[in-house]
């Protein structure tokens, strides 16, 4: 039995796609600033990178507010339950057309592996990028006879940290874009993130709570 559930609410979708766009811009301009290639021109790249970075920070503030007030932050609490089953699914089950070992519901949108990866992103990679990015922007070289904020003797550690994070994010984006094709159909996850609704396999009654939630969100 298939059931259409409203899984990604409007703000969540807005947040996701804005974040996707900003990360794409930040990647493109960031690697130009890094010297990997030339595209916008260095001066433009720096200015776009800065603008996108500020927009990203504003978005993060709203997202944190949203996660806290809606309680959605609980989605990212890590669990060891089914983690082996989920790994086995990606390594073996998926090729045998086995069903997903964990069900997607409004209350548990993320499978145990996703929980781990997204938590890592949210508490490690993104904060590192934001903090090192702010230090990159606001460092001041120590000046003679002057007190400046954020005196850093060298930009190097900040820049290297920011570069490591950037490589990790690129790898994440590649894996992420691939993994969204592993839903019940190739496009079902993508569709859900665009329209909010997803066909979810239901092999039983909806819990009373879920029904209530679904009705509320509709």
């Amino acid at each position: 039995m298939k059931n259409k559930i409203y899984i990604y609410r409007a703000f969540e979708r807005f947040w996701h796609w804005t974040q996707a766009f900003l990360i794409f811009i930040l990647m493109l301009t960031g690697f130009e600033i890094h010297g990997t290639f030339k595209f916008f021109g260095f001066q433009n790249a720096v200015s776009y990178h800065k603008t996108a970075a500020y927009a990203f920070i504003v978005l993060i503030v709203f997202a944190i507010f949203w996660h806290l007030t809606t309680g959605e932050w609980r989605q990212y609490l890590p669990t060891t339950e089914h983690i082996r089953a989920q790994m086995n699914y990606y390594i073996f089950g998926i090729f045998r057309n086995e069903p997903h070992p964990t069900k997607k519901t409004v209350l548990t949108k993320l499978n145990p592996l996703q929980k781990l990866v997204y938590l890592g992103l949210k508490v490690l990679v993104i904060p590192i990028m934001v903090l090192s990015g702010l230090m990159y922007m606001f460092y001041r070289y120590p000046q003679q006879n002057k007190i400046e904020t954020l005196n850093l003797e060298s930009l190097e550690p900040v820049a290297l940290l920011h570069t490591i994070g950037a490589f990790m994010l690129v790898a994440f984006v590649i894996a992420h874009v691939y993994l969204i094709t592993t839903g019940s159909t190739v496009t079902s996850n993508l569709k859900a993130m665009i329209i909010g609704y997803e066909d979810v396999e239901q092999d039983g009654e909806e819990s009373a709570e879920e029904t209530k939630l679904n009705q509320q969100t509709k």
């Binding site: 010297g35 003679q144 820049a159 490589f167 691939y178």
Partner: protein, 525 residues
């Protein structure tokens, strides 16, 4: 109805006041606009010297002119006689040496090497008369040459090898009646020709700047600001701002761009932040020697070759000497990209009599101090001049040879072409020993590039430095610069992670397609 009326009025007021505010912001003049305005005002002289009775007579000697000057300007000679233009030396503090009287008298350069023993020739650029090896009367105010700096007729010229005396065909009376503030023509006659020819030494001071075009220097552009040297080299009591680090050691009394432009002249904050570590000249003087060639290398070791017993010269297609029997072999260059170094305004110098410890490395005649970690240092553009010059293997000293003399047989190299006697005579003049073991050693000099400022359109762009390949700052490796620098381990590791992720997802995807195909076939069966 009243309410609507009220709202309309409020809205109108808001619109009008915001327009006024925006307008007033737009018309607020920038620092550059103010500078352009003030600098375009040409001041007129407060006195016309041609009307002065004391200048109406016929002057037979240049000293008589000086006496006439001093009859009104009664105290000025004291200022001049305290100046480095007169003394050719100045008290300097040098790290490790203490207070030193540093100047042309005890410093060496890697062009014509030094003044000592050659005063009669070098005196062409002294602000006095009667400079020679034996007589050096620098206590007599009558020997001050006022005209060389204050002639406004542009006809005054000192004669060659006459110890600073002017050409005797000059109409000194006419010149004396037309004196005024120093112009580019006054400073240029010496400073554009340092090292024995136009633009030889500095590379950024060229006779083309007598009548500078905008392409050569934006500030001196005769159809633009037309600034005279003293506009920046502000002069009080015959003491001017500006230091040339072939002869200066201290970070004081420098003439800077910031005097007028402030330390944050750009509209973009990020550019203003660069000024903490990057000197204005670095971006705004992308090339020097824009009009005529400057000397880049001077090999003294080949000097002295004669054709049929006579000295000779060889020139390149631009008319630059590539070989002179009296001086050796030269290399020239035009439109040169500067080298870049850290500089904090202090320098060390090789002084006459210093013994060179390490003869395997080139000798830095004027070592400019600075580094990334030094808070006072900025990146500056320099011309680096290389030379091979005479050196005493026995004492480890650079040799001050006797080059110039009126007569043959006095040991002067330019007459007798004998290095050993020239070295012996020259070192005797400065009371230093000469062991007789003469060889040649590599020496380098740094010449900070400060003139020939380009238009903003031609200034360096971000990518001239911020780039992996051919960065202008490729030689400065003691700091991290975005786009130029990366950590090879992070770069390889990061690229590997990305490639592995790509391969992994691709392999996974291919397997999925393959297996689903198989399943379809099985289902069909």
């Amino acid at each position: 109805m009243k309410k609507i009326f009220f709202i309309v009025i409020v809205i109108a007021l808001v619109i009008i006041s915001s327009i006024i505010l925006l307008e007033s912001n737009q018309t607020e003049p920038s620092n550059l606009d103010i500078l352009k305005k003030t600098m375009s005002k040409k001041d007129s002289a407060s006195a016309d010297h041609s009307k002065f009775a004391v200048l109406q007579k016929k002057f037979d000697s240049p000293q008589q002119v000086t006496e006439a000057c001093l009859s009104c300007h009664t105290e000025r000679h004291k200022e001049v006689m305290r100046s480095s233009h007169w003394n050719w030396s100045r008290e300097q503090y040098i790290e490790g040496r203490g207070i030193v009287n540093l100047g042309k008298k005890n410093a060496i350069n890697n062009f014509c090497i030094g003044v000592e023993g050659n005063e009669k020739s070098c005196g062409k650029c002294h602000v006095g008369f009667g400079v020679s090896d034996s007589v050096n009367d620098n206590t007599n105010a009558k020997n001050i040459d006022c005209m060389v700096c204050h002639d406004n007729t542009e006809t005054y010229a000192k004669a060659n090898e006459m110890g600073g005396y002017p050409d005797n065909k000059l109409d000194l009376s006419e010149i004396a009646r037309h004196v005024g503030k120093s112009k580019r023509s006054n400073c240029g006659v010496c400073h554009f020709f340092g090292g024995g020819g136009n633009n030889v030494k500095h590379g950024d001071l060229d006779k083309a700047m007598f009548e500078s075009a905008r392409d050569i220097d934006v500030h001196m552009d005769v159809s633009g600001p037309d600034l005279q040297c003293a506009a920046c080299h502000v002069t009080k009591k015959h003491k001017m701002l500006g230091r040339v680090y072939s002869l200066s050691s201290n970070n004081q009394d420098r003439s800077t761009c910031e005097q007028c432009h402030t330390a944050s002249p750009h509209n973009e904050t990020i550019l203003n932040e660069h000024t903490v570590k990057v000197a204005c000249q670095t971006c705004h003087i992308p090339v020097y020697a824009k009009a005529n060639s400057t000397k880049m290398e001077w090999d003294w070791s080949t000097a002295g070759k004669l054709k049929d017993g006579e000295p000779y010269e060889e020139d390149d297609s631009l008319g630059n000497h590539t070989y002179l029997s009296i001086k050796g072999t030269f290399k020239w260059d035009r439109n040169v990209k500067p080298d870049y170094i850290w500089f904090n305004g202090t320098a060390e110098h090789y002084l006459l009599g210093d013994s060179i410890k390490d003869t395997t490395k080139p000798v830095e005649i004027n070592k400019l101090n600075g580094s990334y970690s030094d808070r006072a240092s900025k990146i500056i553009p320099v011309k680096i001049h290389n030379a091979l010059q005479p050196f005493d293997q026995g004492t480890g000293m650079l040799i001050q040879p006797k080059l110039f003399s009126d007569n043959y047989g006095e040991g002067a190299f330019w007459k007798d072409f004998n290095w050993k006697t020239a070295a012996a005579e020259g070192m005797k003049d400065v009371n230093l020993p000469f062991s007789g073991k003469l060889s040649f050693i590599k020496t380098i000099m740094y010449w900070p590039v400060n003139h020939m400022v380009s238009t903003k359109e031609k200034s360096l762009q971000c990518v001239d430095c911020h780039t992996r390949n051919n960065s202008r700052l490729a030689g400065l490796k003691d700091f991290y610069m975005p786009a130029r620098d990366y950590n090879p381990i992070i770069e390889t590791g990061g690229t590997a992670v990305i490639i592995l992720t790509l391969l992994g997802t691709a392999a996974h995807g291919i397997l999925r397609i393959k297996f689903s195909g198989k399943r379809k076939k099985q289902n069909e069966k």
